[in-house]
């Protein structure tokens, strides 16, 4: 029996895996100690649990446990990495290179630093959502201290060419930071093979709890340091003070361990379901895939259904299917997705987009239901759409003088 509602918004957050919750529970009650209490068994127990989790987390990304700084999540990690590098390497330069489809946690951090004297280059992406490597290299100057490019995009799932990016950065002696939130746990990420110096990621996008994440900070070749953004007791090698969220960290560790074991089989199964969904929805007339079809995450597809509006579309099934739209109406700003616009999509197509994010617990039955209901709603709304009628009558919508408001 199909249980409703169906969750297809795994790029926003994922449910905790029951195995993760099970691992966490003792650390709320019996093993409640402060990991910084060095003088009694409660503290030792907590510290041991954190150390173990640090190993689990490090192993997933091919890092040394000492290179893992626990944070409250990826927004904090993004802030700590970018602001921390900017402050630490101020004597070397003030130029940061990023791109225009980064998460707001990166873009707004860069904007903040611009007010403090940083110079930031925002690279455009190509229509497929990937950056142009020649443009990246051309943007590097003697004052460049950091390249901040996301591993994978949250809206369209495209995976950036990290190895090529880091090779260019190495050549010019520039550090590489990546927001790894969407990629870690979903596809193989190895900080050494990928040449990453700093990487933020978070537990709740990989079947762990909310409120805990990590910043990877390279210790060798080169040794990277960041200036702390939260001062206090000097936890996490002085880079991030604050009592450690022991149950969260334990859950994060467990989530990483499960991802390491199951990533390959999960990705294979989920990408088959994603392809089934995508192929069916792209058969709908005037529907378009957004972002590169090859270099992308296994569990995401972003599709625009021309002549219907995303929020209106979601209203047709959002009681039963949970997903996201790039439509303006879902944001407070009434602006459509800046990511889709950066791909060169017209506002009309950006307004008409849906993001489907599949996950570990998505079933084929759920996908079949989604195909049917999304297709029906698109057809129903097109019957109601004046734009669809004009399109069918052969009227070029670009020739109409719209009353912009």
């Amino acid at each position: 029996m199909l249980k409703l509602p169906i969750y297809l918004d795994h790029n926003a957050t994922t449910p905790c895996d029951p195995r993760v919750v099970e691992a966490m529970v003792p650390y709320f009650t019996n093993a409640f100690g402060n990991a910084a209490s060095r003088n009694h068994p409660f503290g030792w127990q907590a510290e041991e649990a954190v150390d173990y989790a640090r190993e689990q987390v490090a192993k997933l990304i091919g890092a040394d446990p000492k290179e893992i700084i626990f944070t409250s999540g990826a927004t904090e990690g993004d802030n700590l990495a970018i602001k921390g590098v900017y402050e630490m390497y101020a004597s070397k330069g003030n130029h940061i290179i990023t791109c225009n489809i980064e998460h707001k946690a990166v873009l707004d951090t860069c904007r903040h630093l611009e007010k403090e004297g940083a110079e930031v280059t925002y690279l455009d992406v190509k229509p497929n959502g990937l950056i142009d490597l020649a443009e990246l290299e051309a943007a590097i100057k003697p004052t460049t201290i950091l390249i901040a490019i996301m591993y994978a995009n949250n809206e369209i799932g495209t995976v950036m060419p990290m190895r090529e990016i880091s090779a260019i950065a190495r050549k010019h002696g520039v550090l590489v930071f990546t927001d790894g939130v969407q990629a870690v746990g979903k596809i193989p990420v190895d900080v050494n093979k990928d040449g990453i110096d700093l990487m933020a990621f978070t537990a709740h996008k990989m079947y762990g709890p909310k409120g805990v994440g990590a910043l990877y900070v390279r210790r060798k070749n080169p040794r990277v340091k960041v200036t702390a953004q939260i001062d206090g007791g000097g936890h996490e090698r002085g880079m991030r003070s604050g009592t450690l969220n022991v149950p969260g960290i334990v859950g994060f560790g467990k989530a990483c361990e499960i991802c390491l074991q199951e990533m390959e089989s999960d990705a294979k199964r989920i990408s088959q379901l994603r392809d089934k969904l995508e192929n069916a929805l792209l058969k709908v007339e005037e529907s378009y895939l957004n972002g590169d079809k090859e270099s992308r995450l296994p569990h995401v597809t972003n599709i625009s259904f021309k002549y219907v509006e995303g929020e209106g579309l979601m209203m047709g099934f959002n009681k039963n299917i949970a997903l996201s739209s790039g439509s303006a109406c879902t944001s407070a700003s009434l602006e459509p997705s800046y990511v889709l616009k950066a791909l060169g999509l017209g506002d009309d197509l950006a307004h008409s987009s849906l993001r489907f994010g599949l996950g570990r617990f998505t079933t084929e039955e759920q996908i079949d239901y989604t195909i049917e209901h999304v297709t029906n709603t698109v057809n129903k709304l097109r019957e109601m759409s004046p734009l669809w009628e004009m399109f069918k009558d052969g009227i070029d919508l670009n020739t109409i003088e719209w009353a912009h408001h």
């Binding site: 209106g312 439509s327 719209w402």
Partner: protein, 139 residues
């Protein structure tokens, strides 16, 4: 965002979706909004020339649920009204009837604009002077 019952009802069972023959002299058509803004409404009225009463109204809308509901409601209200009465339909009465939240008020403004545009189209076709309206403050 949770929608009001009335918005959901209009969305699920929209009233008067369709197209009137715009070549007819007694049909007025208003097309407002823009695809880039995420809302386009087309609202049409058919006027009984003998009585000046709107005997039919149809809409098609590209937009969110609130935009669809606003235009569906507008067509309901237009039917049976005289053209002069129809001009007086105010967007705030649509907001109240549908319980639209502040972020959706622009949908009701668009519906009011569509009504006025349809009426002016009708007036123009029939050799009447187009009515002048104040710019809506929400735009």
């Amino acid at each position: 965002m949770a929608y009001s019952e009335k918005v959901i009802d209009h969305y699920q069972n929209p009233k008067n979706v369709g197209t009137l023959d715009k070549s007819k002299n007694n049909v007025g058509t208003g097309l407002v909004g823009a695809p880039e803004c995420g809302d386009v409404m087309r609202l049409q009225i058919e006027v009984d020339e003998a009585t000046g009463i709107i005997r039919d109204a149809k809409f098609k809308t590209f937009g969110c649920g609130s935009a669809i509901a606003s235009s569906s409601l507008a067509t309901e209200w237009l039917k049976g009204k005289s053209v002069d009465e129809a001009v007086k339909i105010d967007n705030m009465t649509i907001v109240e009837e549908l319980n639209l939240p502040p972020v959706k008020i622009h949908c009701s403004v668009l519906a009011e604009d569509a009504i006025k545009a349809a009426i002016n189209d009708y007036r123009k076709k029939n050799g009447l002077e187009e009515l002048q309206f104040e710019e809506s403050p929400v735009h």
